[in-house]
Symmetry: C2
Subunit: 189 residues, 2 copies
């Protein structure tokens, strides 16, 4: 019985360097609002608006640092509100995903792909993985407690010596399970 801390990801966006230039001005550097659970990752002070065919969200938090590809991560509830048919995908796997219009203070850009509903997953440090006897890419389940207790199946394990132990779920999953950021689940191999 291994306990896994659960982090709830609200909608957020990762930006490629060239899109930061367009949205915030040439050579702009994101400012750190607060560090995230994964080493080196941070919530930026800056936000952007994202605009879909049916709706828009202002103040979508940027997570830094800049990445190779721009990627908007939303819940399925958000996808309905925007009018974008975003598939469930692991972060980085954006081939064939829909695009979105992104508006910043200095400019705007429409990306042709990059909108996903993130697959729930667990980041494990190599030591955690060894202790729990799970491997990179292994599929496990995680059980939660409480009045809305659920067992999430199809949870992907991601193992690296750059990771800190944390399960990531989106706001739909958190709300369905009645859990808040930092609560714990139990790993079921």
């Amino acid at each position: 019985m291994y306990e896994i801390p659960i982090g709830v990801s609200a909608r957020h966006i990762h930006l490629a360097p060239e899109h930061i230039d367009i949205l915030f001005g040439q050579g702009y550097e994101l400012k750190t609002l607060k560090p995230l659970s994964q080493p080196g990752q941070f919530a930026a002070e800056e936000t952007v608006a994202v605009v879909g065919p049916k709706g828009r969200f202002d103040k979508v938090r940027i997570l830094g640092p800049a990445r190779g590809n721009t990627q908007l991560e939303i819940s399925r509830t958000d996808a309905f509100a925007l009018g974008v048919d975003a598939p469930v995908r692991l972060s980085g796997n954006i081939d064939g995903t829909p695009g979105i219009r992104i508006v910043g203070p200095k400019g705007e850009v429409t990306v042709e792909r990059g909108v996903i509903v993130a697959s729930r997953h667990i980041h494990l440090h190599t030591d955690d993985a060894a202790r729990m006897n799970v491997k990179d890419k292994q599929i496990v389940s995680v059980k939660t407690q409480g009045e809305r207790a659920v067992t999430f199946a199809n949870v992907v394990c991601r193992v690296s010596d750059q990771f800190a132990l944390d399960m990531h779920i989106d706001t739909d999953e958190a709300n369905a399970a009645g859990i808040r950021n930092g609560e714990k689940g139990t790993l079921i191999p």
Copy 2:
């Protein structure tokens, strides 16, 4: 292994007769848009707006017929958007729940209680309950399939010869499980 059809409940409201009078005019009768899975229940043509401290929803569907107490059923996502701390409750159990302002075409009313996040539950006809060997108020689990497969624990069974077999979950639960209205789950006693 018993299969249960799953109905996804979007936000909706049940109105007491005196509130229909205020919102739509004295003696107003709701019109049926379409019948629901439970005999005698219907989605009405009419909608109202609901207004909370942080946000509002226009066009909230009224479900008929009129009931003893007005009750607004929302998801936890909706609760955050409205700014109302709605607890998870079985329908009808509204003591101590927050109120809400309701706006109709002919008037408005602020109720002092009645906003809930509905507990997931299964309606079973008496014959279904006998076949599946479950009793009224029994707590079961229901497992779903697919890329976002989950097992919902703490599902309340409600048995009556007035009910048709249907599990009711809210939009957060449906989105977290990646399922749409009419898909099926498996009962785990």
